[in-house]
């Protein structure tokens, strides 16, 4: 008997203080040398502020896009071959359509869970682009793009462009009446580029519009090339984030030389995994209850047909709006035509806006002559010029977005289309210009507010016998949790018993 016990004890002792897991980690470290870096990674600190969650929404909706997208590729047929439909959806029975459209209808109605996956994919895309934009706004207004993070700003801005592009490509794949019109417009926009436009359009589409090459080509771009580019850039984005560590808002104990918050393991892992589930859950609920892009109602694409109130996905709205309100200035001379009515709103304007976004960090550095490294974030109101510029650009984009519904607005307010169009032309110029000084002024007002924006402690207001009012901070109640502690390094272990001696808990391990 005692022999057995001894063997067990001996075995346990031989495993070391951390048991089998510890031993496996040792084996791993022997081969990969992971221990030191691994511990640093477990201790990595994530600042606790809700606005750092916006980038996570983007990341997780991208995860959902990948998962649902893989499902869709199993059933989608990227072909322009013409077939006659005889499927589950009776109203389309006998209609002529491409295999792309037929397979999209089939995967919506005949594949179990297919419609849900398709709607989740579409919703996740809308959320993806939206989260990127809001995340970028946060980074911009708090000055998180400043040195040393200019490169990551550029990586992120490129990701936005790729996301918009891939969203448009995916939206085009089903070859329905609305998306086909979108492709037609894209073709015309490419045509408008002087000198090379016709060549670019012919090479991309394999000839004159529509041709049969575009669906398979968009499929390869949408499912392979752009996702690879996005995955690569997302990895670079996260690598730079880990390498340069997080920014943080100023506050007690927070300096340029530290990061205060929760450690990667276990707190951040728990929060972020839960958040992945929440984003997935909300996307699934949207997919279940909010119908999006019901292509069987639009019908298959036919270049000579169109439906009323044609509108693209929300992130293409600013382009559509710009195309609607730009005047019909066209250049005809010397045997050539430069279609400025398309070139300026659809090529030059977005080019200018995105280039402004790309060079903003350099521009601001030139302007402020601030070449320091910054890890503490700005309050937007403390940088009125930057904030006003950002608000002005966002307002411009917002006005263009509204302009993409001129026909809907005219119908809703019972105005003539002409009135709405002319009004939108003026407003799109005036409102952003007004937004700048107004935002600038508001920033200064907020700066003047004492302690504005910070969390208030309750005040007790008393009236004296003379009728004079005065406010004093309320006393702290016994069960109040102390509002803040000095931050401490993440401990590696916790004493089983409360430490009573003066000695700090330093264990020396011989390895």
């Amino acid at each position: 008997m005692s022999d057995v016990i001894n063997t067990k004890r001996a075995k346990k002792q031989a495993l070391g203080p951390y048991g089998r897991i510890g031993q496996s980690l040792d084996e791993l470290d022997d081969r990969l040398g992971l221990a030191r870096g691994g511990r640093t990674f477990m201790d990595k600190i994530f600042p606790d502020h809700w606005s750092f969650m916006l980038g996570e929404i983007a990341l997780y909706s991208f995860v959902i896009l990948l998962v649902t997208g893989v499902f869709l590729t199993l059933y989608f047929v990227p072909s322009s071959a013409v077939v006659i439909y005889h499927g589950a959806y009776k109203p389309l029975d006998g209609q002529k359509m491409t295999q792309a459209f037929e397979s999209t209808v089939n995967l919506s109605f005949a594949v179990r869970g297919g419609l849900l996956m398709r709607q989740m994919h579409h919703w996740a895309c809308d959320i993806f682009v939206g989260a990127i934009v809001i995340h970028m706004a946060r980074v911009f207004f708090t000055g998180a793009f400043r040195k040393p993070r200019e490169l990551n700003w550029i990586v992120g801005s490129t990701l936005l462009i790729l996301a918009i592009l891939n969203g448009f490509l995916g939206y085009s794949l089903p070859d329905d009446l609305v998306s086909g019109t979108g492709i037609r417009i894209a073709y015309s926009i490419i045509l408008s580029i002087p000198l090379v436009g016709t060549y670019l359009a012919f090479f991309l589409f394999g000839g004159n519009f529509p041709g049969t090459a575009i669906i398979p080509r968009f499929f390869i771009l949408h499912c392979l090339i752009l996702p690879l580019a996005i995955i690569g850039l997302v990895s670079a984005h996260l690598f730079l984030l880990v390498r340069q560590k997080h920014t943080q808002f100023p506050g007690s104990g927070r300096t340029e030389k530290n990061v205060v918050g929760s450690p990667m393991y276990p707190v951040f892992i728990a929060k972020t995994t839960g958040f992945l589930f929440i984003v997935g859950g909300i996307t699934a609920l949207l997919g279940a209850f909010a119908q999006v892009n019901p292509i069987w109602q639009f019908g298959p694409y036919d270049a000579s047909r169109i439906s009323y109130a044609v509108q693209p996905d929300w992130y293409m709205g600013f382009l559509d709006g710009a195309l609607r309100i730009w005047p019909s200035w066209s250049f005809h001379s010397f045997g050539h035509n430069i279609p400025f009515e398309v070139l300026i709103p659809a090529v030059i304007l977005p080019g200018l806006i995105f280039n402004l976004v790309f060079v903003w960090p350099l521009f601001e550095r030139k302007f402020t002559k601030d070449n320091e490294i910054h890890h503490l974030l700005d309050r937007p109101s403390d940088r009125p010029k930057r904030t006003a510029a950002g608000v002005a650009v966002l307002t411009l984009l917002g006005m263009l977005f509204i302009a993409s519904s001129t026909d809907v607005l005219a119908k809703f307010f019972d105005l003539s289309l002409n009135t709405v169009l002319v009004a939108m032309r003026y407003l799109t110029v005036i409102v952003p210009i007004l937004a700048f000084p107004i935002t600038y002024r508001i920033c200064h007002e907020i700066q003047a507010l004492h302690g504005g924006g910070r969390r208030k402690t309750p005040n007790v207001v008393t009236r004296s016998s003379e009728g004079e009012y005065s406010a004093t901070p309320s006393p702290r109640y016994v069960d109040d949790v102390p509002s803040h502690l000095e931050p401490t390094p993440v401990p590696d272990y916790v004493h089983a018993e409360p430490d009573e001696s003066d000695e700090s808990g330093v264990r020396v391990v011989d390895r």
Partner: protein
């Protein structure tokens, strides 16, 4: 094994009652109970998702159970992390990423000097390699030019309308003078293209009967609209959408994409919106048997603008 692995590693410790290690919740037992409920509900919903999938339930049931399950599980895990784990705050040092001046010098020197050394001594090789790569770069463009698509040439300047093409509607029926009443509109094609992609995209034409007699939309087009049949290209000159809406009272053709409006009785001149040019008009005639036919192709390129358009 290097020496640093032999040095004792000091582990940082905190006493169990340290305030940093306490959960953030004031009442952890209650939070724990709430989280348990979340996890139970999450598990039930996810199981329900499996059941719905098994019986092939409607899509909204699949989504509701999947979404509800993920949502409850997610809320539970986030609450666990937020309220029951050590609340901190914890801190981490931030080290400067920049290396020492000596390291930078060594790095820059290695790149600049080594490279300069190699290239300067072998200028001929460098030039030849550069030339070869340059040629490869140009050659690599060839597949882009020749395989991806044909050269545009004059493709965009022409449609399939020819001198004498019969005007047919979407079902291929040849249009005769008596077929349409005043105010009628139809989409027509040159016979034979009504079912092709190219026909629908390029040749599509709106045919409107505006009167009983020959109608002149513009000077020089006196014979183009026999018996009041006016034909315009249906491809919008703005971005190529089909100009599909006809406002009969105002005699306007409206493009539903960006609301350009074209005056039907006045040569389809744009009256409103972003379109820069009138819709090209197709010259028609009526043959001896009473069929509508085209005198020729459009006299100019249809559709949106491009560089080579004269």
């Amino acid at each position: 094994m290097s020496d640093e692995h032999r040095t004792p590693v000091s582990l940082k410790g905190l006493p169990a009652n340290d305030p940093h290690l306490q959960p953030a919740a004031r009442n952890p037992e209650l939070v724990e109970r709430v989280i348990s409920v979340c996890f139970i509900l999450g598990a039930l919903f996810v199981a329900g998702f499996g059941a719905c999938y098994w019986i092939n339930a409607q899509p909204w049931k699949l989504g509701a159970t999947l979404g509800g399950g993920l949502l409850f599980l997610g809320i539970g895990v986030v609450a666990w992390g937020k309220y029951l784990m050590p609340r901190g705050p914890f801190v981490e040092e931030r080290h400067t990423l920049a290396n020492s001046e000596a390291d930078r010098q060594a790095f820059a020197a290695a790149i600049v000097e080594r490279g300069a050394d190699v290239v300067q001594r072998r200028k001929l090789l460098g030039g030849l390699l550069g030339g070869g790569m340059g040629i490869f770069g140009i050659v690599a463009l060839f597949p882009l030019l020749r395989s991806l698509g044909p050269l545009p040439k004059t493709t965009l300047d022409h449609t399939d309308w020819r001198s004498g093409s019969y005007v047919v509607d979407q079902s291929g029926h040849r249009v005769q003078v008596g077929d349409y009443a005043i105010g009628s509109i139809a989409t027509v094609f040159p016979e034979g293209t009504q079912n092709t992609d190219r026909g629908q995209a390029v040749d599509q034409t709106v045919l409107i009967r505006v009167s009983n007699e020959g109608f002149t939309t513009m000077k020089g087009r006196e014979t183009w609209a026999p018996h009041g049949y006016v034909a315009y290209s249906k491809v919008c000159t703005h971005l190529g959408c089909p100009v599909g809406l006809y406002e009969q009272e105002l005699q306007l053709l409206v493009c539903p994409c960006h609301q350009s409006m074209f005056n039907v009785t006045n040569g389809a001149v744009p009256q409103f919106g972003p379109a820069p040019r009138p819709l090209p008009q197709l010259p028609l005639y009526v043959d001896s048997a009473g069929y509508l036919r085209s005198q020729s192709d459009y006299r100019e390129a249809v559709g949106p603008g491009f560089w080579e358009r004269s």
